[in-house]
């Protein structure tokens, strides 16, 4: 009886939310317009553009010139007239042709710069190790498509010319030319089934598209039913109703996931339709291209739909959790940005080639769906893994709902005072001086830093290696500094710049040592689980460190993060979190954020733990200098190990044992815990009270 009453209420709430949502333009736009209008437009657009480009290329004739004043007729068979004839030849099967312009050698360069010609060839006689030779150089502008194409075509022609000359020289020597020119025939033949090929292509893109579209589909309804209700002032009305939080949340949750699933299915259908259309177009173009039996995709698609539903439930619950913290649409957007980044980043896993999809990964949210979809499309059905993915997604969704119900019990969240929490977008003149950043600002700064790290950091690191790392660090400190300057924050409080007591320094060093030991053990434990990941991390490090000196590495790998990362994570972000959240929540969230920032599954746990410790130290002592020291020590040990492995092994043999005995592990854990405990005990902030009296 009681459950049926509950069900009636949930149904009533669901009905109200659905009606409310379907009258919201934003939700409708996200749900309908994106799959039904935007996708087709993008597809059509790219098709049209593709054919336009192809068309323009076909109609073109390329102007080129030959400068062979310095060439030597006859040397290795050079024949200026034959070359010109070949270049200007239009009768062969090439779709484009070249037009030879008669330009004196001196003005070729200027003609190219003025785009009067698309490319030119310089032929010069040069003395090489093999004797005197005519050397061909193609001059072109890589920035111009036509010029590049012309250069490619010249290259093709010159290949033929080369073959022609070789043939001629060989025949002069009286040798059978064909066998010498092509002693070996090479050709490629792909034995994947066509369905697998199409599937693997789809499998790369589809997970990302699916996950993004579900996220977008869930996002607006999630905001509308949580933050939106607060913004419109109807939340209190809702709370006067005789329904429990559980019924309320479940009703809302089902409404949000209905929209998310509907939008996901619409997206899927739209994408399928588009690919079929695309396929049909390609088919007419190139008859032998792909013969795909669409019926073979049906079971795969059914499983994809099932997973999509499970994932939509999960993502709806998580998004609602995040947006519940916001008081308005604008704020919710800011909170959701990092969530979107994480989700999209995780869904990129499918692009990683040959990723092994194991049982453990099947339990990692988002990653599992991404990998599952891409595996299913190459027809790798593993039902136990499919089950794990489905069940874990349901479990995570349920956990998120439980959390959400608890959040709705929090009066602070429900009745929290209105106030401008995003100061970064407020005019600077309107801001009051002092204080620490708001949590919204901190989340925004963090998201900006993460974006810079992903897009700018990865590029400069690949380009400038160690110096790139330094630049990344400067970006990481730059964003919070800029933000605190703009919002006129008190730097001392924002970055916890309080001098430590001498005894705290000892405490910091001790606790860092203890933590380091524990983390070493943890990472060797994790190492056996994520071997590939560890290898990847080490390879990147080796690559970046190539050619760098010890001092340089120490400064950039140990000192720079000790300053810059501390400023962002233990300074700006933690101060904001501590102001708004309970201490435990602030410490754990800041720690986790620090873990996520390292963008690696193994490092998430180890650096996350370190982050938690650092935050705790700042929380107890209010001094960022301590954690900067700890961070420096932590990274410095790693640099020492990289540069002087033998010495370090002699000094600390226990850190290097491949397979430590149980006794050894226990001893290390004991020492670690002891050091950590003693260190934290020394960080006791109490005696200050006396000074005040």
């Amino acid at each position: 009886m009681k459950t049926s009453v509950k069900m009636t209420k949930i149904k009533a709430i669901y009905k109200k939310e659905m009606m409310d949502l379907l009258r919201d333009k934003k939700t409708l736009v996200m749900m309908l317009v994106v799959p039904l209008v935007i996708y087709p437009l993008i597809m059509m657009g790219s098709l049209l553009m593709g054919s336009a480009i192809a068309g323009s290329l076909q109609s073109d004739e390329y102007q080129i010139a030959v400068a062979d004043d310095k060439a030597q007729e006859g040397v290795n068979g050079y024949d200026a007239a034959a070359l010109r004839a070949l270049l200007g030849d239009t009768e062969d099967s090439l779709e484009y042709h070249l037009k030879l312009e008669d330009i004196p050698e001196k003005s070729c360069k200027d003609a190219l710069a003025a785009e009067e010609i698309d490319a030119y060839i310089v032929v010069e006689a040069k003395d090489t190790e093999e004797g005197r030779k005519n050397v061909f150089t193609i001059y072109y502008l890589s920035s111009k498509t036509t010029s590049s194409t012309a250069a490619t075509m010249i290259e093709e022609k010159l290949e033929r010319y080369k073959e022609q000359v070789s043939r001629q020289l060989l025949s002069e020597l009286g040798l059978a030319s064909e066998l010498l020119l092509k002693p070996v025939e090479i050709s490629r033949s792909d034995s994947s089934a066509n369905e697998e090929r199409v599937g693997s292509m789809l499998g790369m893109i589809l997970p990302f598209l699916m996950i993004s579209s579900i996220l977008l589909g869930a996002f607006y309804p999630a905001v509308d039913t949580t933050a939106g209700e607060k913004e419109r002032g109807t939340l209190e009305t809702l709370l006067t109703l005789p329904v429990g939080n559980d019924e309320l949340i479940i009703g809302k949750f089902f409404a949000v996931s209905t929209v998310a699933v509907a939008s996901a299915v619409l997206n899927l259908v739209s994408m399928l339709f588009m690919s079929m259309y695309f396929y049909a177009v390609v088919q007419t173009d190139d008859a032998q291209a792909l013969q795909v039996e669409l019926a073979n995709f049906v079971p795969a698609l059914l499983i994809v739909v099932l997973c999509t539903v499970a994932f939509a439930l999960f993502i709806s619950a998580v998004t609602m959790c995040v947006t519940t913290f916001a008081k308005s649409f604008k704020e919710a957007n800011n909170y959701a940005t990092p969530l979107m980044l994480v989700v999209m980043f995780a869904s990129f896993v499918a692009f990683v080639p040959n990723m092994e999809f194991t049982g453990l990964l099947a339990a990692v949210p988002i990653v599992n769906i991404s990998l599952l979809i891409s595996d299913i499309l190459v027809f790798e059905y593993n039902f136990s893994i499919i089950m794990i993915v489905l069940v874990t997604n349901m479990v995570y969704a349920a956990l998120a709902i439980v959390l959400l119900i608890r959040l709705y019990n929090s009066e602070e969240l429900m009745f929290g005072e209105e106030g401008t929490s995003i100061q970064i977008f407020t005019g600077r003149g309107a801001l009051k001086k002092g204080g620490v950043p708001t949590l919204s600002d901190a989340v925004l700064v963090l998201a900006a830093s993460l974006l810079l790290l992903l897009y700018v950091g990865s590029v400069v690191q690949a380009r400038f290696l160690l110096w790139g790392l330094l630049m990344t660090q400067l970006l990481i400190i730059g964003v919070p500094l800029l933000a605190s300057w703009y919002t006129k924050k008190e730097l001392r409080e924002t970055f916890s710049l309080h001098a430590p007591k001498p005894v705290w320094v000892l405490g910091a060093v001790l606790s860092e040592m203890g933590c380091y030991l524990l983390i070493i053990l943890l990472s060797s434990l994790l190492g056996s689980l994520f071997e590939q990941d560890i290898q990847a991390v080490n390879d990147t490090m080796d690559y970046i460190l190539e050619g760098a000196g010890f001092v340089q590495a120490l400064l950039i790998i140990a000192l720079a993060p000790a300053v810059c990362e501390e400023a962002l994570f233990r300074g700006y972000f933690f101060s904001a979190a501590r102001k708004r959240l309970r201490p435990a929540a602030a410490i754990i969230i800041s720690g986790a954020v620090f873990g996520i920032y390292h963008l690696s599954l193994v490092k998430f746990f180890t650096t996350g733990l370190l982050g938690v410790l650092f935050c705790y130290v700042v929380y107890r002592t209010g001094s960022i200098f301590l954690t900067a020291l700890m961070h420096f020590l932590n990274n410095a040990v790693a640099v020492f190990v990289l540069f002087y492995p033998e010495k370090m092994e002699r000094l600390f043999p226990f850190l290097f044992h491949e397979n430590p005995s149980t006794a050894e592990v226990c001893a290390l854990v004991a020492v670690g815990v002891l050091c950590l405990g003693a260190g934290l005990w020394l960080l006791n902030p109490k005696p200050r009270a006396k000074q005040i009296n």
């Binding site: 009636t8 149904k11 009606m19 006067t240 620490v436 409080e493």
Partner: protein
């Protein structure tokens, strides 16, 4: 009947240097309103009126103390959901669902209150008659005027025929005609034996309407009684002066202590 026993609500406030200090927004308030009575809750801004009314309406749970409510038969209600079913709560923060028409919203809410669609429909017809909503009941709420939507808000409170009404500044920002409609409504409900708890900043309104008044300042009751009693106590001729005098006394007393 609704009764509050020694209610305390503690909030934490974050001040400079991240120090969290606790303060009592409501600091040990006991009040009681009988059936057929309108009890006015008066006090300056920040006195704790809204927090008190939220606790009485079970929107917030008290840090200490408890709330007792009896239904029309005198039975004491204990479960939160049961209590909410017998309360009609209206404040400046209980806005309406703008994307619906009044009729749609009322019938959706009716379902949440556990009515069948037929029951809800019948009740809505009744309310439309009582509150004279006929002209705009099918318009989307976002297109209604302030006065019209306030009447729809009252319809929302009336929908489930509660025993107790809690109205937090219901006439704020309304013109005389709209206020008049609300005041008349409260009087009618009182005459039918309902309990009305009501806070306002309009002293004339309170003087005219309330059977009894509690005066709240800094989370505590500083005076209570009928309007006449309060006036006599402070030797004033109208409630506005009574109010000012009481607050003044309290502020000075606070300084001396």
């Amino acid at each position: 009947m609704i009764k509050a026993e020694n209610l305390v609500k503690t909030f934490t406030r974050t001040e400079k240097k991240n120090k969290r200090t606790e303060f009592n927004a409501v600091d040990g308030i006991s009040i009681e309103a009988a059936d057929g009575e309108i009890l006015g809750v008066l006090g300056p801004n920040g006195a704790g009126k809204t927090t008190l009314l939220r606790m009485l309406g079970k929107l917030m749970s008290p840090t200490e103390g408890k709330v007792l409510i009896t239904d029309e038969t005198g039975r004491e209600l204990t479960k939160e959901i049961e209590i909410k079913r017998h309360i009609g709560y209206l404040s400046g923060n209980t806005k309406l669902y703008k994307r619906f028409s009044a009729r749609e919203m009322l019938s959706l809410l009716g379902e949440i209150y556990g009515m069948t669609p037929q029951e809800a429909e019948g009740r809505i017809e009744e309310i439309v008659r009582i509150l004279d909503l006929g002209a705009f009941v099918d318009n989307r709420i976002e297109r209604l005027s302030t006065g019209q939507s306030q009447r729809v808000s009252i319809a929302r409170c009336l929908l489930h025929s509660p025993q107790v009404y809690i109205f937090d500044e219901p006439t704020l920002g309304l013109d005389i005609i709209s206020s008049r409609a609300i005041i008349d409504f409260m009087k009618q409900e009182k005459e039918q034996g309902k309990t009305v708890l009501y806070s306002t900043h309009y002293m004339e309104e309170a003087e005219f309407l309330c059977d009894r008044i509690v005066m709240i300042y800094q989370g505590q009751v500083i005076a209570k009684g009928t309007p006449e009693e309060l006036r006599a106590q402070t030797h004033t001729t109208n409630l506005r002066d009574t109010f000012l005098k009481l607050i003044e006394n309290e502020a000075q007393g606070g300084l001396l202590a």
